[in-house]
């Protein structure tokens, strides 16, 4: 039995864990305001809000309902556009109308939800931040100018109401006062406490482990519908990001967006906050996890490529709770094959904190800049001596091999003095050591030369930073 609250209604259902939320909302509950347009999390028309009770406080975030299994939503508050009905138009709805930010209307409910969700999620109340929150909501009609204007008006309204200065615990009430959400939201925490249910967590050989589902449920939703599923999102014990003994420790259940915004990351790898905007969209980063990205084993996964350059290690737990550790660079065996037994999960990711002279850079080129899979991506960790000699050189590259690749043989450049000529040599070497294939992301030739350019870009960026 799965229990959650949908809008203001308590739901108890015997539908399978693997049933897609969008289907549940539309077909079981007849709420047709949430639209299906891609079923891959690519467009945002199906965006809904998911609220979880955390330390007596509701935390809401936006997700793509078309790839979310309902089993992952036990004890959640799910909000669709119907659940925003305040009798009148909410402020967000009014601003969309005022700015003519809707044409055919098919994507509009998703945009309403993303803008509403922004008010809950964002630490920063700024124009740029609301544009980030809308990065997964595609619209084929408007050309976005009017949607941006609606976003700008929302920011103005929030600022005029001192929302930024409102204490976090009072924000929900403030949003009710501002007519952004209906008043029943205030009663949700109490209701959620009453319905509380926990599933029995155990893994067997047939269990499919779901760590975000943003790719898994795109690939084979039918096959998974009646599968036994184990949701990493239920491992509250693995939702931490902490600093310990020169390492950043990231729990296996941490969503990429939480990682991106965490204080620990901002302190040690501040550039990741922007780099990870390239990973996917807000609605996907809100559920996609680092561990999911790693076991997805895409040769072009952004997280994997970043973690490879950062010398990350994986802490792997089996069903008995036994633990082993492995270097990420040794984890991948061949295309989509890696060193993980059926009953094992990634419990933790250990990221060494780089030393002062080490510099990190990430490059990604995709056909569309945002929410697209890279043609080639690459990350580099470079340490230069005071005399500009290379002391450490670690470069990863995606899209150029069957696995996320850590480039080998770079030792020969250690100790050499950094120069334009040396950068060319390194770039040339990297290019020659990979064998990409022609595919939908680009021709083999393109990817090869592009990698060379991205290696040069690493050094350019690092040099600029040093200035």
């Amino acid at each position: 039995m799965i229990r959650f609250i949908l809008n203001n209604k308590i739901i108890e259902t015997h539908k399978p864990d693997g049933m897609i939320l969008l289907d549940f909302i539309r077909e079981e509950e007849g709420l047709t305001g949430t639209k299906e347009a891609c079923r891959e999390g690519e467009c945002g028309a199906c965006t809904v809000l998911i609220g979880r009770l955390n330390n007596e406080k509701m935390e809401y975030k936006t997700i793509a309902s078309c790839i979310t299994p309902i089993g992952s939503l036990k004890n959640c508050h799910i909000v669709t556009v119907e659940g925003l009905d305040t009798g009148d138009f909410t402020l967000v709805q009014k601003l969309i109308i005022d700015n003519s930010a809707s044409q055919c209307g098919y994507c509009t409910p998703g945009i309403v939800l993303s803008m509403t969700g922004f008010c809950f999620m964002s630490e920063e109340i700024s124009y740029d931040a609301i544009i980030d929150a809308l990065d997964g909501n595609i619209c084929r009609c408007t050309g976005y100018a009017s949607i941006r204007n609606a976003g700008r008006s929302l920011i103005d309204n929030l600022k005029a109401n001192d929302y930024e200065k409102t204490a976090k615990k009072d924000r929900l009430q403030k949003l009710i006062e501002m007519n952004i959400i209906p008043s029943y939201f205030a009663e949700i925490p109490e209701k959620l406490k009453k319905i509380g249910n926990r599933s029995n967590i155990n893994i067997s050989d047939e269990t499919v482990i779901v760590a975000g589902a943003t790719d898994l449920f795109v690939q084979k939703p039918e096959a998974l519908e009646n599968q036994k599923l184990y949701f990493m999102s239920e491992r509250k014990d693995l939702e931490y990001i902490k600093e310990e003994n020169g390492n950043i420790l990231v729990g296996g259940a941490v969503a990429i967006e939480d990682f991106r915004k965490s204080q620990v990351i901002k302190k040690h790898y501040p550039e990741l906050e922007d780099y990870l905007l390239l990973h996917s969209s807000t609605i996907l980063r809100n559920t996609a996890t680092l561990s999911g990205n790693i076991v997805n084993a895409s040769p072009i996964g952004d997280i994997t490529i970043i973690l490879l350059a950062l010398s990350a290690r994986l802490v792997i737990e089996n069903r008995h709770g036994n633990i082993r550790k492995i270097e990420l660079s040794k984890f991948y065996i061949s295309y989509k094959k890696y060193d993980l037994e059926p009953c094992e999960i990634i419990r933790e990711i250990e990221i060494p904190i780089c030393s002062k002279n080490e510099q990190f850079n990430f490059e990604k080129v995709s056909n569309r800049k945002i929410l697209d899979i890279a043609s080639v991506n690459s990350a580099a960790l470079i340490k230069l001596s005071d005399k500009k000699n290379i002391e450490k050189l670690r470069i990863s590259a995606g899209g150029v091999a069957p696995i996320p690749l850590l480039l080998s043989g770079l030792e020969k450049f250690i100790g050499k003095e950094l120069s334009a000529k040396l950068i060319q040599e390194i770039a040339e070497y990297c290019m020659q050591s990979v064998t990409p294939i022609d595919d939908i992301r680009g021709s083999a030739k393109y990817k090869k030369i592009l990698l060379k350019q991205l290696i040069i870009a690493h050094f350019n960026k690092i040099n600029t930073v040093q200035k």
Partner: protein, 747 residues
């Protein structure tokens, strides 16, 4: 006036096809389509599929009661293939089951034996083999040989432009409900009420009066739901055969893989200029990549053909155009309907000529702009031409010269990033080039409570046509907008409606509505005259729902008037008809006046290319567009913004990829359309002021498609950067994807 539908859109209350409450006994259909691009069907085995869970029926060509034919222009497109296979994705069978999932599952059990034949994918190759749809078209004006002899500068070459997936958010779909006495009601997401009703009637073998096709709204159309009737007719056929309601909804990736797209073109061009840069001669050969059936391709080609002179005065032309039969899904209408492709070739040729001449392309464009009195290649003389006005208005606003200088300055100071700039003028003919289609009707009903219902043949797809019609009706009748409701588009109320396309929706249907309202108003005024003994009808007015005589307000409201009219037995319902006057075209001579008027505009696009990585961003777009006297500035501005960004998608990142066997490789996760961050921070749209247009309703101008042309600016601004880097290669084809930009620089 803002789009009235938004009030429902924001609450998720707008009903699209899949949101209609399921009628009792609803079944779901899925299509089984050809996995082979070219071949001949030997055998179709549906036995396993018939036994699959939940399956009600597996329909093949043998089950069709009427004609197995849905060709839009030429009868070459069977609903269900029975012999020849022309493309991957061609429908072979319809599986109907209790759920969509079961229908899809059963599709996988159908076995089809197809003898494979050699497919053709290249339009030029198809032409060489004589594989064309309809006839080759040739238009000659002036003396091209002489003109080239006189030309000081000649540029010639070959270039290509790519296709584009519509990516309307609501995929192809329909819900068909059988009714009494062999009648059927079909709710569909389609742009052509009349034509699709006709196809349904023919395939089901029932008269058209037994088919009620109803359209509330579309979740986007952009032309993709204008001509290819497969999904609507398939649902109707299944409902008819099973006597049960049937819904057919295709998935995003099915839609991308099997539906028509914007036509790719290949071009040969030759352009001649005199010593001052005036265009003397232009010769072009258009090869259109049409796909396996003609569909609407010959009409699209015709529009490309008529627009190859763009916004320029070209005295001597020779235009040849062929619609090439290739083994991909039949391409169809897409916003612009061939005009973007036609404009692209003259813009490319002129760009090339500017390089040969060594003159700035922007200056070269300006001196060749169309003016009043100029003739277009098909012999139409221009009046009320706003090409120069739009250009100069933009120039006043942005100072083109300063912008060029700023770009040069930027490029001087930056090594790895370079900026490029482009100015694009727009001249877009308005009317269906097929003169017959320029007709529309409206039915206006006034009810005894004073509320008004308007029905027209226009289809609302987000472009706001219903809001414009509502506004025309309220303004003409002199009543508050709240009193007027635009009803669904329904073939039982409005027969033989032309498609809502060619940007003519508001022009035609708005005018028919205006006529109907004027007629009703006259009837009401006569009644007022009788009641007040004041017979000068011109001095009777209704304003904001109150009756005025000679400007004096009477204590007489619209509601009272209507009730009186009813009691006096006045006809409160009026049907009216509009046909665009004075348009004609002679296809043999290729001469005529095919368009009622032209839509003009000018835009400036600036881009920044990251030379190191081959990626780029659009820095700014400034648009001036002529919308006449706008029926709704909010809607028109939205149409311009939407068209520009959709077009930039076509010219830059949207690229369709096929496997060597013709299978579509692009899908939702690889075919990327512009997102919110793709749009430039500086995006300014200005409507040309004081523009009058006597040729359309209330002095307005069509808006849906013309601004799409501005998006070419992104291609040419990137090209500006690329050509500064190197000129030892031919002009790259459109779209300029990051990969293409990169390879242009580094390969």
């Amino acid at each position: 006036m803002k789009n009235v539908d938004m009030k429902m859109h924001v609450k998720g209350q707008s009903v699209f096809i899949d949101d209609i409450k399921a009628p009792i006994g609803l079944l779901n259909a899925a299509l089984f389509t050809s996995p082979v691009a070219k071949g001949r069907i030997k055998n179709i085995d549906i036995s396993a599929a018939q036994k699959s869970e939940g399956v009600a029926m597996v329909i093949t060509h043998k089950d069709i009661p009427g004609k197995n034919q849905i060709g839009h222009m030429i009868a070459d497109q069977p609903l269900l293939a029975f012999d020849e296979i022309e493309y991957i994705g061609q429908p072979i069978a319809i599986v109907v089951a209790d759920t969509r999932k079961n229908a899809k599952k059963a599709c996988q059990l159908i076995k089809v034996d197809i003898e494979k034949l050699e497919p053709v994918f290249e339009p030029r190759e198809a032409y060489q083999k004589g594989l064309i749809h309809a006839q080759k078209r040739v238009l000659v004006n002036g003396n091209i040989e002489e003109a080239f002899k006189k030309s000081k500068y000649i540029a010639s070459g070959r270039i290509d432009s790519g296709g584009q997936e519509h990516f309307y958010f609501e995929t192809q779909r329909a819900l068909a409900i059988p009714k009494e006495a062999d009648t059927i009601k079909v709710c569909a997401s389609c742009q052509s009420p009349g034509a699709f009703q006709h196809h349904i009637a023919e395939v089901l073998d029932i008269p058209m009066h037994k088919v009620e096709l109803e359209i509330r709204r579309l979740g986007g159309g952009f032309g993709g739901k204008e001509s290819t009737a497969v999904w609507v007719v398939a649902a109707a056929l299944a409902a008819k055969l099973l006597n049960r309601p049937v819904k057919l909804v295709i998935s995003r990736n099915e839609d991308i893989a099997t539906t028509g797209k914007r036509h790719p073109y290949s071009y040969d061009y030759k352009i001649g200029l005199d010593e001052n840069g005036k265009i003397l001669a232009f010769e072009v050969f258009l090869y259109q990549q049409a796909g396996g059936c003609a569909d609407i391709s010959p009409a699209v080609l015709g529009r490309s053909f008529l627009h190859t002179s763009g916004s320029y005065c070209i005295p001597n032309v020779k235009i040849t155009a062929v619609s090439c039969k290739t083994n991909i899904p039949p391409n169809n209408a897409f916003r612009g309907f061939g005009v973007p492709q036609g404009t692209f070739i003259i813009e490319s040729a002129l760009f090339h000529a500017s390089e040969i001449m060594g003159k700035n392309i922007i200056e070269l464009k300006k001196i060749n702009l169309l003016k009043d009195g100029d003739f277009l290649p098909y012999g139409m003389q221009l009046k009320k031409t706003n090409a120069v006005r739009c250009w100069e208005t933009l120039d006043e606003k942005v100072n083109i010269k300063k912008r060029i200088e700023a770009v040069e300055e930027f490029n001087k100071n930056n090594q790895t990033k370079k900026r490029g700039i482009s100015v694009i003028p727009v001249c877009f003919g308005i009317s269906f080039a097929q003169s017959t289609l320029n007709q529309a009707s409206a039915l206006v009903n006034i009810y005894i409570d004073g509320s008004v219902s308007v029905s027209t043949g226009a289809v609302e797809m987000g472009q706001g046509v219903n809001t414009k019609i509502l506004s025309v009706a309220a303004n003409t009748l002199g009543i508050q907008k709240e009193k007027v409701r635009v009803d669904t588009t329904n073939t039982s109320r409005i027969p033989n409606a032309s498609p809502t396309s060619a940007s003519t929706g508001a022009d035609l249907n708005g005018m028919a509505t205006k006529f109907a309202c004027e007629e009703l108003l006259t009837r009401l005024k006569k009644l007022i005259a009788k009641k007040t003994n004041f017979f000068d009808l011109d001095k009777i007015r209704i304003k904001d729902g109150i009756v005025y005589l000679c400007g004096a307000k009477l204590d007489y409201t619209w509601e009272e008037l209507i009730l009186d009219a009813y009691n006096e037995r006045t006809d409160l319902s009026c049907h009216s008809f509009y046909a665009t006057p004075a348009i004609y075209y002679d296809r043999v001579k290729e001469r005529g006046r095919p368009f009622a008027y032209y839509s003009y505009g000018t835009s400036l696009t600036e881009v920044e290319v990251d030379i190191l990585r081959g990626v780029y961003e659009i820095v700014s777009i400034d648009v001036v567009h002529d919308v006449g006297k706008s029926l709704s500035p909010e809607i028109d501005k939205g149409q311009i913004e939407g068209a520009v960004i959709q077009s930039i998608g076509w010219t830059t990142i949207e690229q369709l990829r096929y496997a060597p066997d013709g299978k579509m490789l692009s899908s939702a996760n690889s075919y990327k359309i512009p997102d919110i961050k793709f749009v430039p921070k500086n995006f300014n749209v200005m409507l040309l002021e004081n523009s009058e247009n006597p040729y359309a309703v209330c002095n307005s101008k069509a808006i849906g498609e013309p601004p799409f042309i501005h998006g070419l600016g992104a291609y040419f601004a990137i090209l500006d950067v690329l050509r500064k880097i190197r000129k030892d290669k031919p002009l790259p084809s459109l779209p300029l994807t990051p990969e293409k930009v990169f390879m242009y620089i580094y390969e």
